[in-house]
Symmetry: C2
Subunit: 416 residues, 2 copies
């Protein structure tokens, strides 16, 4: 498989990019190379690293708009959980496909997933050829969240396709006991896997941890040896200086999820302090039931503006910084692709249509992408060298929509 | 002119809408009426009231992305003002057209404008057939902001077309003296015009007012008789309880501009208090240099989520409330169209494409529009009974883009 992308704007200059298998082989002007596939940007498209969504629960897209504007406890316990319990693997398969469709259509090349029925998720990802890190979920008191399941699925799914990685995904400190957290960490280390975890999303979590373990969550996790450079911590809102120091020392990656944090009123990610410590910050949409979108463009704008108003300083969280956390930093955390466009790197690229009104005028493309555009500005998406979207067309779109709609009709019946 | 819209989803049911001249004449099932123009939604499009942008400075779209992430003073004094000074009426004409193009393509049927070279703006609006309230700007120490100009332009432009209204738009208390504010108020009353004004956007404004007039801005404006039911007050952030009481008593409309307020770190609009007092709240994008978008869908999401996180209460600013402020409340403030779809009202409608991934599944269309969609979900736009966009095609789009780009090249030269 080879792909030649002609006449695309890269850092302000018209260039060609030649891709062989999954990697960028050559970047230059007027490349005269034969390739099996070709895209011509005609000087009207810019090429950028694809976006990396570092925390989501994809199939929750089937619950989008079902319940909004409720208190967290009501939302979870009365609205979301009773329906989630009734999901079948087939629901998850089509829900994940719908989510991937939305991600592809808004420039996401890779996502970090944490949800049930991992085999169904794996199939959906594999078929749609997007890149993903699929978390093998652990949760005590749930038959679907055991150590045995993790081991079994790991052995079954490992090393199948290059664009899918597996992670161990213990849910949170309040749902996974110390023994299982330690097991998860050891299993991840032994098998060189990422650890995907919810950390300090709500104030309540801190209070309960202090009561139970006499220390704050990060201190507890540090004490049991859970934290390392393979650890990806979603939310990470309620951190004190000592905890930030530990996260730095352990070289963890943190996932800022501004939209979900605002909508569920979890709190504000301490971006400025985290940035000062040079900790790797990534961006995530969280599940589309609490966002309610998977569009990383919208997420970038929220990411910047929430920090500005929170700090009352318009200079914090600049467009360039935010674009970096949504691309390069995410790719670094997930260790999949590079988040940069250069020879030798995985070809995870988005092409954006410079004729979109939201990108005109074009003094500063990154500012336009972060502050003005929506995901609809993406015209083509390349993931691991394969074209997942061409001129906004994605394979099987109608079939996916049709099947996802069927599931949503079933969900309405669950409610009544 | 007559228009028949067939098979569109209205409040969950498939309906037809018949429009004669600028008004909705009939709504029903299977209407068998002849019409000059026809749109068939085929059951795949929903019809909703068009969005009303209650505060903007359209032509500033020519400055989009030119300067971001600066302190307000630096941004204004070093970046924006030096370029604005060099704008010609022709720049404003093309800038306004580009902004209107963006508004049409994201579902806005009417906007409340405040910017220089009002005649150029008037021409752009007239040609593009969108509805607008064009403010005749007043600002002391500027030849373009005098009472004489307002009188002259009012006499020249009044009553030309039904879809354009004029307003008197004194800029703010710190740029217009007491005598001129009183003159503006009297001129507006005499000629039954709206008054469009910037109120209490920054803390500094309050401090300076207290120093100069010994009272807070709303008290000062009330004392000179400026406030009435024709007064539209953009921003209105820094208000105390006494001021809110006065604004209620005077029946003013307030314009919440969340994105701009976050990006420029002006502060947070006191939505909850204002809503409790049942004051008319509208929504605005502010100028696209400080937003950097004119997409009211994005604005709705920011409007809700900023209030939720600020109050730490996920139940405030629900999707339904926010959709209402973006449609009905705006139409009420601008007294142009109704913001509702019913017989006898002005036909200001948007059709949305229910096959857009962001609108799937569709349990709650309003939630999807506020929390998930971007302006790209709008397929067709009808304003005063005329089709401004059909299947995302707008007249003269290429010509407008070409000319706006020319202006942006000129602007780059201004800088160097």
């Amino acid at each position: 498989m080879s792909l030649l992308i002609k006449n695309v704007i890269l850092n302000g200059e018209k260039k060609d990019i030649y891709i062989e298998k999954e990697k960028i082989k050559k970047i230059g002007k007027n490349l005269n190379l034969k390739a099996k596939e070709k895209i011509d940007g005609k000087g009207k498209k810019a090429v950028l690293p694809g976006l990396v969504n570092c925390h989501t629960h994809s199939a929750m897209v089937l619950l989008r708009g079902l319940a909004d504007d409720f208190q967290l406890e009501v939302w979870l316990k009365e609205k979301i959980w009773p329906i989630e319990k009734k999901f079948s693997p087939d629901d998850i398969y089509w829900g994940t496909k719908l989510a991937i469709l939305e991600m592809i259509k808004s420039g996401t090349v890779c996502f970090n997933e944490m949800y049930w029925y991992e085999e169904a998720i794996f199939e959906a990802v594999k078929e749609m050829k997007i890149s993903a890190v699929i978390g093998l979920v652990m949760m005590d008191f749930s038959s679907g969240g055991s150590k045995e399941k993790v081991e079994k699925l790991f052995n079954k799914l490992k090393n199948q396709v290059e664009n899918i990685k597996l992670a161990v995904a213990p849910h949170a400190i309040y749902t996974v006991c110390q023994e299982n957290l330690i097991w998860a960490k050891n299993f991840a280390l032994k098998n060189r896997l990422l650890l995907h975890f919810h950390l300090s999303e709500t104030k309540k979590e801190i209070e309960e941890c202090l009561k139970k373990y006499k220390v704050r969550p990060v201190e507890y996790l540090n004490r049991i040896g859970f934290l390392g450079e393979n650890t990806i911590l979603a939310h990470s809102i309620w951190l004190n200086d000592k905890e930030i120091e530990i996260l730095k020392k352990r070289n963890c990656s943190l996932v800022y999820c501004p939209t979900s944090n605002m909508k569920l009123t979890s709190g504000v990610f301490p971006y400025k302090k985290i940035k000062e410590k040079k900790i790797n910050v990534c961006l995530g949409t969280d599940g589309p039931a609490s966002n309610n979108s998977l569009d990383m463009f919208s997420e970038m704008k929220f990411a910047s503006l929430l920090q500005k108003i929170n700090e009352m300083d318009p200079t914090v969280a600049s467009a360039n910084e935010i674009f970096k956390i949504a691309t390069e930093n995410g790719a670094k955390a997930l260790k999949i692709g590079s988040g940069k466009i250069k020879v030798g790197e995985i070809a995870n690229l988005m092409l954006v249509d410079l004729d979109k009104i939201s990108l005109i005028p074009n003094y500063n493309l990154i500012s336009n992408l972060v502050y003005s555009a929506s995901g609809d500005c993406v015209s083509d998406l390349i993931c691991f060298g394969k074209i997942l979207m061409r001129e906004r067309k994605v394979e099987d779109e109608e079939k996916i929509v049709k099947n996802a709609r069927k599931r949503s009709l079933k969900i309405i019946k669950f409610q009544t």
